[in-house]
Symmetry: D2
Subunit: 290 residues, 4 copies
């Protein structure tokens, strides 16, 4: 397919590489052009403006947050996009902005698909992302070959694009809550002289298998918070988005409120760039042991 791609951070760059490998023609644009140049060697065509990327069969975007997205994808860009174009937004953005984008695209005869991904850069590089897609079924059908090139599984979960964002935020909320809870459990165990390592062995071989408890739990057990797989600062952003999405439908999320407070405390102590497993340090500090 002939596609555009906007936003070439770690995640976006890895996706483009896999799209090229699968034989797609990709026009790429990035705010800082160096990242685009690096992909040129792999066959990407570097374009000078977002508008040039916003054409062809489809355009994918992977921008950092609401503000970054709004700086690039504005009314003027949409106005000049070819009718019938499918725009697939793979970033984790607010539910409110997703609703706005869906409406703005529809008004101009454009298709808008929200397809946030689960998985970190190493998973993206291996083309094993989990894709959570929502939007009109025929639009998703058209871009499914692209999803197949970058992910191992696409879940279709609704006709309203923002529903994919809600699901992504709910998943990240679950993740953040599990890490906060691991941190608190670690503080409890430490106070009684029980090794967190032993605890993890017990729970990960039984009730809590899988990467989250072993991975983040291990970082807490070793008090090793760098390099960050998922930064505390970004974890806070996602929890904030989950709280806002919940407030929009009058839903309290008391555990999310607690996690937000703990992440703010991490930032207050200069640990915003650490992995958000640093919640273990926050819990230990409160107990006077960090």
């Amino acid at each position: 397919m002939d596609i555009g791609f906007i936003g070439l951070g770690e995640m976006g760059g890895a996706m483009v590489a896999n799209l090229l490998k699968a034989g797609h023609s990709v026009r790429v644009w990035n705010r800082t052009p160096e990242k685009a140049q690096a992909l040129a060697a792999a066959g990407a065509r570097v374009v000078a403006t977002p508008a040039e990327a916003f054409a062809g069969d489809a355009v994918l975007s992977m921008l950092a947050d609401d503000t970054a997205l709004r700086t690039v994808i504005d009314a003027a860009l949409l106005e000049h996009a070819p009718r019938g174009l499918v725009h697939v937004n793979m970033a984790t953005i607010s539910v409110a902005l997703a609703e706005t984008l869906a409406r703005e695209h529809a008004e101009r005869g454009l298709h808008y698909v929200a397809a946030p991904v689960l998985g970190r850069p190493d998973v993206a590089a291996a083309a094993k992302l989990t894709i959570v897609a929502a939007g009109a079924a025929e639009a998703i059908d058209r871009v499914q070959p692209l999803f197949d090139a970058i992910g191992q599984k696409t879940w279709r979960i609704g006709a309203l694009p923002q529903q994919a964002n809600v699901m992504k935020l709910a998943a990240n909320f679950m993740l953040a809550s599990a890490v906060e809870t691991l941190g608190e459990a670690s503080a409890l165990l430490g106070g009684h002289g029980v090794a967190m390592r032993d605890f993890l062995d017990v729970i990960t071989s039984g009730i809590f298998p899988g990467p989250v408890y072993a991975g983040y739990g291990g970082m807490i057990a070793e008090e090793r918070y760098e390099p960050a797989l998922f930064k505390a600062r970004l974890g806070l952003k996602d929890v904030r988005l989950a709280l806002a999405a919940a407030e929009a439908v009058s839903t309290p999320l008391p555990v999310a409120s607690v996690v937000r407070d703990s992440l703010i405390e991490a930032l207050a102590h200069g640990d915003g760039e650490c992995d958000f497993a640093v919640l273990g340090k926050v819990a230990a500090r409160r107990a006077g042991r960090a």
Copy 2:
């Protein structure tokens, strides 16, 4: 081995059956004798007093809570127990009582091992319990054949018996927090018209495999809270014990505080005998949707 067993509830009864199958000789005692009679057919010897059970090579106890334990296992009982006897307490009790029991046994030349188990009655019946043991290594060595008869794995995690109780409470705290978080996520998703079932498919096939998210999440998705696998009332008891164990070492557990509040709310609405997945109903009610 020649052992005694005190406390023949669902869990205790299943353990005794497996101990008998493995060829051990078991004297059993229960507050209400009917349950003991049922095991007589399988080869257990029913005794009339706890003191008769408290003899032989070892005695195992599985009583409901601190109060039930203290009613049966008092100073008089310990005073008359044969020196060198190993008492293995498999119940989930408070850390404070575990410390007291350890001291009382030691003063009288008795061995005290704390060995709480992970697993529900069906797991106990299959002799697949996970056993978390703490106490003197030589005492645990002596009763290891008993653990092998009822569980699939014994974790030894410390020389102080109460450390096993701390670990058990920490595990149950993790469990309760995961369920609360599932409940809150469900309310968030429901507010935006996303199916909890779809969400579970996504997370259990990726970041959150294992029985907890699938099992309790499934109950929340189906709003099916009976029959209870783990009652809300008992979940509250364990969270309360975790909070007390944490307070004893000056450790705040803010997520546990939230879960405690939610479980109290469940009880206030008459749902104490429901499975503690009923936390999903609590979260939905707060959002005006239950």
Copy 3:
């Protein structure tokens, strides 16, 4: 003085009436002109555009929230305002917007004073507001006669305008927390058959005198949440602003998080237009008694 006034809601209208009584000349503008007409009879000059109000010796504004303010007071308006004009913003807005406004005014040679008020419409009508002012001292000096006409006391608390907003938000946070706590205490007392009325008699005649405990406590005791003195919906807005102001300086406010969750729960049950004493109903509902 020759002044403009923008925003003629209940609060703004009462202020203008008092400014006229004190002999000032007031040009008034409101989005919906009916409210302006009502003040014409009292001597106000109704103008057709915000720009006409934004002139003379000073302009006061009292708009509902950040969005309402931004719709009216934009770059174009400020660009055409006469240099040296003092703009006094008396509304409760976000700290972030206050910082932005201060910068935008300074860049154009305008003075910006933040002067949020404590007190409800009846207090405004009696010219007894408490004014919390921040900004350049000389700018505040110039508008002090205006403050004297509408309030009984002006507190000057800093040179940075946003500091006044922080203080206002902190005060409203204290207020909301007191009401939440009254609600929870009421639920506790009710559970034990103790009358909230008796409790209020005891605490308001001793440790907690003053209007907050007697007033909101009385509404909770009588379960009378309408008419609203301070709507739950607006209380939630202010708590949200306090949380945002705190997050901007990496400060967790766990009690504010709890109050936010409770107010969301009130809105979820259709009580957003009730007085925020309806937090008492939320607390009672959680306890299964509402």
Copy 4:
């Protein structure tokens, strides 16, 4: 009247002094006899056993907590007390123990009145305590002259003794919440460079008059946490009792849960003997500013 008095701490000692001044005959007993001797000079008769104090027209007790009370006032003591004796318990104890005591007294033909007091030692010395009494009206009538000698006002709030304890715990919960909130507000203000002192001036001259906001707020503003008027350790005890009383009637108290967590954090940092205004230090530490 001819009365006994058990428990001669700071509060109890001050009460006895005032009872003697008012002309009553007082037999005093204390665990450590030195304190009793000091009162002998003022006319008290020192007795050697609690039983000797538990006689005459009435006996008042003021023991530190549930454990201290249970060590002294047990079944044997009540068994030998003269029928018809009125026992007035002025200490802050758990609601559960109050219920138990009420039953135990009634079974033996003794009257039990709960009469916890509001006020610290200086208020007790000035005979200006606020007394919250519950129990049978005729029993309270008989001891009213004693209340008049030590307090300025007696509130009668119910026929069940434990209701007075509930009210006292609710009042202390309100107090602790106000202090936590002051601490959080202080952290918010500090982050924006606004003086806590200025904030207190504004709120105490308007919405929050009275001793709590001025007193504890002042300690937070000055970061002066010693000497303690009300120790953090004892504040935690009272919040714990409030939470237990609420749980007994299935009532969540989310703000109390937050305050409990903060007080535990204070203890973890060695500040248990500080005034519980040290909650201000906890809030500042979380924000990285203490």
